[in-house]
Point group: C2
Chain length 132, copies 2
DNA sequence: TAACTGTACTAGTAATCATAGTACAATTCA
DNA sequence: TGAATTGTACTATGATTACTAGTACAGTTA
């Protein structure tokens, strides 16, 4: 379920956050589904529980999961945070990356196609009012 | 010209890379234009010359600038690298970010609009074959 | 030659990361 | 109730990386 590269320069906990976020966004993990406990997952991945906890804490602060002491950690509802601060941040990063993509020669059409594909993969849970 | 936040967790050299990349992509800095020397810029920003050098080295490895010993550092031609490896990387990051954006409720239309705006800002140097 | 340019190298400090160990509170279930 | 599980909070330690500082060298220019 998780492919970790302990030799990567990218911290393990970040890899975990990315991977879990991906599973949540693509709805492989669905709302209120229970995640493995920090100890269980740590044992499975043969890494320290503290590392798992750090990843879970990060995901919780970003609104992707919620944790209840004594019960466990669970996937949040879709579009959990609706945090405008977070949306602004994503929009900002997106601007930079799109600029770079266009600069490198990736065409607009390619970008449109990419968006379509991703939307299809997510499952179209978010309806749009009109196609361009 | 450069607004640096030395108190940010983001390294200074990364801030420099981002800012310079932005200026190059938006053609505020044009091809073959000379950049300030590592020492001059270091003095202006009251930071260590090595930090500037690190940023310049990074930009050079990404194909945005080129440096000549004894002469200086200069902006590269547009679409410099055409490095397919780099394009793949950007495409990958873009996928992740677009997924997150859609998940957070940013609509397709908004994304299309964003692409249009960015293209306009860049100056439309890269022509596209057709609008969607 | 003198003053500039980029570049390379070492060294020291600071920050981050992963781990280990312990402890505590809340929940679950036999 | 009691045992096992859950999340959470600490401290401490070793390893690695990031950043800064200083010095030196090579090429270019006037």
């Amino acid at each position: 379920m998780f492919e970790l590269d302990v030799r990567s320069r990218k911290p393990i906990y970040e890899q975990l956050v990315e991977r879990l976020k991906e599973l949540i966004i693509t709805e492989v993990l669905t709302a209120d589904e229970q995640l493995p406990s920090v100890r269980t997952l740590a044992q499975q991945l043969t890494i320290n529980p503290n590392t798992i906890q750090k990843a879970y804490r990060e995901l919780e602060s970003q609104g992707y999961i919620y944790s209840i002491k004594g019960k466990g950690s669970f996937v949040s509802e879709a579009t959990p945070s609706r945090n405008s601060e977070k949306i602004d941040k994503v929009r900002n990063e997106l601007s930079k990356l799109l600029s770079e993509a266009l600069y490198l020669g990736i065409t607009k059409n390619e970008l449109y196609k990419l968006i379509q594909e991703i939307e299809a993969a997510i499952g179209g849970g978010i309806e749009d009012d009109q196609n361009p």
